[in-house]
């Protein structure tokens, strides 16, 4: 089986190569593949986010963050000529956690050499993957390891986004009176709200020049306070305990636009 498909892939490759060699070489200077890194920094305002530190939100609430994490998936890279490269799905699920430095560096491998000006991605886990067999839920999606606390087993599906902390304004019914829990999930099962959101980040100046010998880094910043300050100024007094439910969609609309491109390195 393995051998067979290897041979047929080879044949296909040869075929493709012979076809593309007829066309004039429109690819970038380098016809190979390279890697691209996306580094995400979490900020609170303009300073780096510090867990446990008190901040004031746009809505006037005081809040400290103890946990901040979310899924980035289905990445599509956008070239400077507006054509796109879809990162193969199996290599396109990442769980970004404030508590883990390595999780904030997303490495995309075997990317066609080209000039990329930005990318688009899903915040969360798409509906197809959300229904797949357990064996298709590996890496960032493994709820026995990385995704341990990012899954609702009573309401089948991943938690796309999690922000936990404390706020004196929070009126919460759980064990801690001032606890803040913003958990968003929901991929639209059978007419239910779809809280998957797509974010797009495009560079205004500069491109990432992926080459076999150049691994560019795109630096993305996320201001955690922007989560509270979107189309709606989040009101912690009323919604400190959001675990799915109708307010989850409001939170999702707010965090949809928190991702900003800071700069690109090409060295």
């Amino acid at each position: 089986m393995k051998k067979l498909s290897f041979i047929s892939t080879l044949t296909l490759l040869c075929l493709l190569l012979s076809v593309s060699s007829c066309k004039k070489d429109e690819a970038a200077a380098d016809s190979g593949k390279g890697n691209l890194e996306i580094e995400i920094d979490h900020l609170a305002g303009t300073e780096g986010l510090v867990l446990g530190t008190k901040y004031v939100t746009a809505g006037g609430d005081t809040v400290s963050v103890s946990k901040f994490q979310y899924f980035v998936s289905n990445i599509v890279l956008i070239k400077s000529d507006n054509s796109e490269y879809v990162v193969p799905q199996d290599k396109s699920y990442f769980l970004v956690k404030e508590s883990s430095v390595s999780s904030k560096l997303l490495t995309l491998t075997d990317i066609p050499s080209a000039d990329y000006k930005g990318f688009r991605f899903t915040i969360g886990v798409d509906s197809a993957r959300s229904r797949m067999e357990e064996s298709e839920r590996t890496g960032a999606l493994d709820k026995g390891a990385a995704a341990l606390d990012m899954y609702w087993s009573w309401n089948e599906g991943y938690i796309f986004f999690k922000l936990e902390g404390n706020s004196p304004q929070a009126v919460s019914m759980m064990d801690t009176a001032d606890g803040v829990t913003l958990h968003v999930g929901g991929y639209g099962y059978n007419g239910s709200p779809n809280n998957l959101r797509t974010a797009e980040i495009i560079s205004a100046n500069g491109v990432a020049t992926v080459r076999s010998n150049v691994t560019p880094e795109m630096h993305v910043i996320v201001n955690v306070l922007d989560v509270f300050d979107g189309p709606v100024k989040l009101d912690l007094a009323g919604h400190a305990m959001t675990m799915g439910g109708t307010y989850a969609s409001v939170v999702a609309d707010n965090y949809k636009d928190i991702f900003k491109l800071s700069h690109i390195h090409n060295d």
């Binding site: 026995g144 089948e156 239910s192 109708t246």
Partner: protein, 355 residues
């Protein structure tokens, strides 16, 4: 369907159930072992009953996978303090529901909030649990395991416990041909055990399939009444249309919002999955609330106890606006007589499913 074995041992593990259900032919998938006398060591037969509708979830069975699933099902190692197994709350003699329990006691003796359902013919269920919160067989086990009032176990810790156990290492290896214990294999094995729990040999089944089952005059009248009054919801020979409805047992749709909690659509407030009625004689107390102890109480509810709330099902509102289903005392008794023909002693006593 017959398994032709090139390699007597491994072929057995790859018997796949691929059945053209539309034909509704009885297909037998024999899961034989590779011992000296295959028939004697046969683990179980997974027969697709001819009178069942289209299957919703396909499970691939192997003898080793099934045996591993069974061991896991009855092993309290799945709970945080190793005291509660799936089998603690799902007992075979009552069709894998919880005998005499309105609500089940989980870990630390905590009470759950809904009555334990039976486990039977799960491959034909569209969604699982009263509220329909789980849609794939493979995702079922994580719900009770992670539920703080049921088994309250951390999946990473559970994997560690299984990996540290020599017998599990041996059994996973023999089932999956790889020296690995992961959630994919864990849940596949449990799906095999759960999927094999097929009840289709009640007297009623043998009657409809023309296999010599006889129904009495009373039972037949009960069947006719049932078809007229109950089968709009308890449809097909699985006795459910897999929908979510409010059958008027509660005065409030806010106290337990049921399927609404999953889909957040207001029309589903206070609705619950229409349950199967197979082995219903054995699975009391009844309803997600466990509020009726006998079938007599259930029938009386439909005849005169239905409560009005916003989402009450239309089928339970009569033309004149009064509530419930028109049922004389005789009709109620006949329906109960019919329901008792759904008891499947072969299923309740099948040794292959026992601990």
């Amino acid at each position: 369907m017959k398994c032709v074995c090139a390699d007597s041992c491994h072929c057995l593990t790859s018997v796949v159930m691929k059945i053209h259900l539309i034909l509704l032919a009885t297909v037998m998938v024999l899961l034989t072992s590779c011992g000296k006398d295959p028939m004697a060591e046969r683990a179980f037969e997974v027969a697709i009953p001819a009178n069942f509708p289209e299957m919703k979830h396909e499970v691939k069975f192997t003898k080793e996978g099934f045996n591993l699933g069974k061991k896991l099902f009855y092993d309290p190692i799945l709970s945080r303090d190793n005291t509660i197994s799936c089998g603690s709350c799902h007992q075979q003699h009552v069709a894998f529901s919880h005998a005499d329990h309105r609500f089940s006691h989980g870990i630390d003796n905590q009470l759950g909030k809904r009555n334990a359902t039976s486990l039977q013919n799960l491959m034909w269920n569209q969604d699982f649990f009263w509220d329909g919160g789980v849609h794939d067989m493979g995702q079922i086990p994580f719900n009770p395991i992670q539920n703080p009032v049921e088994m309250d176990e951390d999946l990473a810790v559970l994997l560690q416990k299984l990996r540290a156990n020599d017998e599990y290492r041996r059994m996973f290896k023999s089932a999956y041909k790889e020296d690995t214990i992961n959630l994919a294999y864990f849940t596949d094995a449990l799906s095999q055990f759960m999927g094999a729990l097929i009840s289709a040999n009640s007297r009623y089944d043998k009657y409809v399939r023309g296999e010599g089952g006889q129904l009495s005059e009373t039972e037949l009248r009960g069947l006719t009444n049932f078809k007229a009054k109950c089968s709009s919801c308890h449809a097909t020979d699985l006795f459910t249309d897999n929908s979510f409805r409010n059958n008027g047992i509660s005065t409030s749709i806010e106290s337990d919002k049921g399927h609404y909690e999953i889909v957040l659509l207001p029309k589903y407030k206070g609705t619950f999955k229409v349950p199967t009625l197979r082995n219903i004689e054995k699975t009391g107390p009844y309803m997600h609330t466990g509020s009726f102890n006998t079938l007599e109480e259930v029938l009386k509810h439909y005849a005169q106890g239905v409560k009005q709330t916003e989402t009450l099902d239309k089928a339970l509102i009569k033309e004149d606006g009064s509530l419930g289903i028109e049922l004389s005392e005789t009709e109620q008794a006949e329906i109960i007589a019919f329901l008792k023909t759904l008891t499947d002693e072969e299923f309740l006593n099948n040794k292959s499913f026992s601990e």
